[in-house]
């Protein structure tokens, strides 16, 4: 489903370039649960952003669903985000002015899902995540773990093929972390969602079925 060939990312620095990623070759098949690991500054997040079409590589080729991403128009990229990609962030990144319900609903609005379908889909997720009672609360009224649950619900509400998670448990204590990771495992195994996560934790990596290790921008 995802294929990287000789992907590099660098920034201009003085007269030369600073490489963040070098010659990454990576294949991700549908249904995989991959953990990207490595020390700080090894390029994990950048790799995830390139995979998630938030950043563009400086060199190399990236095929997403067999399509070369470099050649996509802005419009097509937005389409991919709307239909196939979900994001989960370490800092949750919920919209403060929207309630739990409305935050989860947002991707469906952009996708253009009809109202009745939206309602049932959001209700289903609230039910599944045990958050029905909290649907009218605002993000700041929730604990970190609950906020991240909403973040995950928002990431999967539009039935994406792949979820990109950037240290999804980084701001959570261990109990909440377990809850989120078990949820990811379930989504991967039962709903067949492909998951790519960046993590520092070997325990979290243990939930997945493959680990990709980065060091100084190289695949280790």
């Amino acid at each position: 489903m995802i294929k990287l060939e000789k992907i590099s990312k660098y920034y201009p620095a003085g007269f030369g370039k600073t490489y963040v990623l070098r010659h990454i070759d990576l294949n991700i098949k549908e249904g995989e649960f991959i953990s990207i690991m490595g020390p700080s500054g090894s390029g994990k997040s950048t790799l995830l952003h390139i995979l998630g079409l938030l950043e563009e590589p400086s060199e190399g080729e990236y095929l997403f669903l067999d399509e070369p991403v470099q050649k996509l128009t802005e419009k097509k990229r937005t389409e991919l985000h709307r239909h196939h990609i979900g994001f989960v962030f370490q800092a949750y990144h919920l919209i403060d002015e929207l309630t739990v319900y409305e935050n989860i609903e947002t991707p469906l609005l952009y996708k253009g899902t009809p109202s009745s379908e939206r309602k049932s889909r959001v209700a289903e997720l609230l039910d599944r995540f045990n958050m029905v009672a909290k649907k009218d609360l605002f993000p700041h009224q929730l604990s970190g773990g609950q906020q991240q649950l909403v973040g995950v619900a928002r990431a999967i509400v539009h039935n994406p093929k792949v979820i990109f998670a950037d240290e999804p448990t980084g701001n959570l204590h261990s109990e909440q972390s377990i809850e989120i990771m078990e949820l990811f495992q379930k989504l991967n195994q039962e709903d067949k969602v492909t998951i790519v996560q960046v993590t520092h934790s070997e325990i979290n990596a243990g939930y997945g079925n493959r680990v990709v290790r980065l060091k100084d921008g190289w695949l280790a």
Binding site: S45, H49, G52, L54, E55, E74, K75, T78, H81, R82, F87, F89, A91, H93, L94, I95, D96, E97, L98, E102, E105, T106, P107, L109, Y110, K111, R154, H158
Partner: protein, 806 residues
């Protein structure tokens, strides 16, 4: 989706309600100014648009070229209309009007009023569109002694409209005296609309005027001739026909004129749509507004109002932009999230344009509500009579919609575009710093202050110049002089004598003089032609007005020849005539005063008989006992002028029964010369106050934002030992630099502009340095107060609190 946006907008507004209030109040004030300007302009451009003969209704204009000087006059003489109609087939009808500033005493059985008279050809109602309420429009002006009253006049004189056939008297009108018949009312017409250039209380047949004033001259222009043209006419060919007809008919008169030594002007005709007259009235002269057209204006005032309103609105928009930019960190994260959940740039642009649109709708609604109580004040300031209902005309509603769109785009586009362009990774991972203003925002603050300081300078200079005008020694004393008008053909010498007798030993008055204004005319001295002002006075005049005699003597009854051939002149006349020893010198006056030479018996010191805008021009004073006058100038000795007025009215009624007591105060009349300036001064003062207020709101918001955004930094600094004053400096420094730059820009621009404005006065102040010191100092002071109040609050916060909340 739209609901989602709306929800988030409303919630965001609620959370940032302080800034929303600041934005809405600024935008509402700005929009209200623009609504008023729009009302003013739509009124200005609506003049004379109600005539059914539009767009084929034109006025004939005359352009005189004399020794390279071109004078355009919106009028003709009496002969052009009929001659052109006869020889130019494109003219379907012509109508001559004379009036506007002609007033006469009209009396019914019980009432007497001074009425605005208009003389017109009998097809008046076919050429112009005024609604006839009583009587037959086609025949109303057929008889030489028939008159048509306006509704207002009818009600004033008779208290009813059914008055066709009633009679009126005019005791002192030269024509009425000659036809020896009473005037018969043949109709009542609706009052001319406020936006009509043609205003009158009573209509007379043109033939009535011709009884006492018939003129075959082709070289004159003093009345309005209007023509209705065939719709497919070519204006240029019509005008060339006019010029041909003129050159044939005026030939003899030109020859006669050149024989008598006058250099006759070249004359060209033109056509002007009646709807264009209001903004380009081409008045015959300042002294003589008798060509039927009044209420003339200039497009300049429309531009000024509009420009001012746009600036005020712009300042409010700048507040919005700057608050948005300074506040954008918070919104940037939202943009990042939206982009990763599938929003495209256009949707984000739409959302963030929606917010200013929403604010502007609220602001515009407020603006309209605000306009309602402000309108009477505005009417007073602008001299208009705009109704509240005019706001809801279709034209203006369209304009309001345009304002809304314009406002939204101006205030919203830049912040919305900035936000929509953000890359999600950069904002979600806080790789870019978005707090505070960038160069663009700073530039806008500087611009705001440039405008505010400029307005401050303008206010000060205006005020100083008007003070100068008020306090300037005019060379005579206008205070306590009451002018009592005497119109029509009357035995003014006898009236003056009776008045003087009545006032003898009267404590209300010490002196009076009979004065007449004859305007600028030629005089010839030593083969030199001098364009000079003629006024008639008597021997009391100099004393009455405290005018100093420089040489020679005043008029005196000891020299009987004074009456007929004596003249006083001013210093400017002496200089223009090049005389070294003026007393006893002789000159030939304008033909109005006969064809015999006059002798200069005295020279008066220069005094400002017209506005300070003009240099003092040559002036000749002749004897009013001989040449008549139109007003008694009475010196009031009582401090209570109302009481004196009542007293004078009694005497007047005794001397001149069945006339209207018509008076004015000389100093108030002088002030009329500066009415436009005074209006402008008031406007600019108000606008300056508004602009400064809006600027302050913006500064306050920016200071508030920067202190809240930098609360953590402030906390750390305080923990590290910063003093309150160093925190104050930290926050104020930035704003002071911006104001410094604004001052550097505003000062030279202000000097240049105000100097140019002062040039329009012949007697003026130099641009005062205080204007700059005060407005610059005031700007700095106000900015410091606004910013430091916020900084002070920030500095006093317990750092434990501000650090914990992060």
């Amino acid at each position: 989706m739209f609901k989602n946006f709306l929800k988030i907008t409303v919630r965001h507004f609620w959370r940032t309600r302080l800034y929303v209030c600041i934005n809405v109040s600024g935008l509402a004030i700005g929009s209200a100014c623009l609504v008023l300007a729009a009302l003013y302009i739509s009124d200005e451009t609506s003049f004379d648009n109600f005539h059914q003969n539009n767009p084929n209704l034109y006025r004939i204009t005359t352009s005189f070229t004399n020794q390279g000087k071109v004078v355009n006059v919106g009028g003709t003489g009496q002969v052009q209309g009929p001659a052109f109609k006869e020889q130019v087939p494109e003219i379907l009808a012509y109508n001559r009007i004379m009036g506007g500033d002609i007033h006469g005493d009209v009396r019914s059985a019980n009432n007497a009023f001074k009425l605005r008279m208009l003389f017109t050809d009998d097809n008046f109602f076919a050429v112009f569109t005024f609604k006839m309420l009583r009587g037959d429009a086609r025949s109303a002006l057929k008889n030489i002694n028939s008159v048509v009253l306006t509704k207002k006049t009818a009600l004033k004189l008779f208290n009813r409209l059914n008055i066709v056939g009633q009679v009126l008297q005019m005791d002192a009108d030269p024509s009425a005296i000659r036809i020896r018949k009473p005037l018969v009312i043949s109709g009542v017409v609706d009052d001319p609309p406020v936006n009509s250039s043609i205003q009158f209380d009573i209509l007379f047949p043109f033939r009535f005027l011709q009884v006492s004033f018939e003129d075959q001259n082709w070289l004159n222009a003093y009345l309005g001739t209007f023509v209705v043209l065939h719709p497919s006419s070519d204006l240029r060919s019509i005008i060339s026909k006019f010029d041909q007809i003129h050159s044939i008919n005026a030939k003899d008169q030109l020859v006669t004129a050149s024989k008598s030594g006058e250099r006759a002007p070249k004359i060209y005709y033109g056509l002007q749509r009646i709807t264009d007259i209001h903004l380009n009235p081409q008045e015959v002269s300042n002294q003589n507004r008798e060509a039927g057209i009044i209420n003339g204006s200039k497009p300049l005032y429309s531009y000024i109002f509009f420009g001012i309103a746009v600036f005020v609105l712009l300042m409010a928009s700048i507040n919005f932009i700057n608050i948005s930019i300074a506040n954008s960190m918070k919104r940037a994260r939202e943009v990042g999230i939206r982009k990763t959940t599938g929003s495209n740039q256009a949707q984000i642009l739409f959302q963030f344009l929606g917010e200013p649109a929403f604010l502007n709708i609220v602001a515009l609604t407020l603006a309209i509500i605000l306009t309602i109580p402000v309108l009477p004040v505005f009417n007073q300031l602008s001299g208009k009579q705009i109704n509240i209902s005019d706001i809801f005309s279709q034209q203006l509603l369209m304009l309001l919609f345009a304002i809304l769109l314009f406002n939204t785009v101006v205030s919203g586009l830049y912040p919305a575009y900035m936000l929509s362009k953000l890359s999600p990774v950069e904002v979600l991972y806080q790789r870019i710093k978005l707090s505070g203003l960038g160069g663009f925002g700073r530039g806008l603050v500087v611009f705001q202050f440039v405008v505010a300081i400029l307005l401050g300078i303008a206010t000060f200079v205006f005020y100083a110049q008007m003070r100068f005008v008020e306090d300037k020694d005019l060379g005579y004393s206008p205070s306590q002089i009451i002018k009592i008008g005497i119109s029509g053909v009357r035995d003014v010498e006898r009236i003056t004598e009776n008045f003087r007798n009545e006032l003898e030993n009267d404590p209300h008055s010490s002196d009076l003089s009979l004065v007449g204004e004859f305007g600028f005319r030629d005089a010839k001295i030593n083969d030199r032609k001098i364009f000079t002002y003629y006024r008639t006075v008597d021997d009391h005049y100099l004393n009455l007005l405290d005018i100093k005699l420089k040489e020679g003597r005043n008029f005196s009854s000891q020299f009987p020849s004074d009456k007929k051939y004596g003249a006083l002149v001013n210093e400017a006349f002496v200089r223009a005539a090049g005389l070294t020893d003026p007393i006893g010198k002789q000159f030939l006056p304008d033909s109005h005063f006969g064809s015999e030479v006059f002798t200069i018996v005295g020279v008066v010191k220069n005094f400002h008989y017209s506005s300070l805008r003009d240099k003092i021009q040559p002036m000749i004073l002749l004897a009013s006992e001989q040449y008549g006058g139109d007003a008694l100038w009475v010196k009031n000795e009582k401090s209570n002028s109302q009481e004196s007025l009542a007293h004078f009215e009694n005497i007047y009624k005794k001397v001149l029964p069945a006339t209207v007591f018509d008076y004015s105060f000389l100093d108030e009349q002088n002030a009329l010369d500066y009415q436009q300036e005074l209006r402008l001064q008031k406007m600019i003062t108000i606008v300056t106050a508004l602009s400064v207020f809006i600027c302050c709101l913006g500064l306050f918001a920016l200071a508030h934002l920067s202190t809240t955004q930098r609360a953590r930094e402030t906390g750390i600094r305080i923990v590290l030992g910063a003093t309150v004053s160093s925190i104050l400096v930290l926050f104020s420094k930035d704003f002071l630099i911006m104001i410094g730059i604004a001052i550097l820009i505003a000062f030279p621009v202000g000097f240049y502009v105000m100097n140019a404005w002062l040039e329009s006065f012949a007697y003026r102040i130099e641009v005062p340095a205080q204007a700059f010191i005060l407005s610059g100092g005031f700007a700095i002071l106000i900015a410091l107060l606004t910013v430091s109040s916020q900084a002070f609050k920030a500095a006093l916060v317990n750092p434990a609190r501000s650090l914990r909340s992060e």
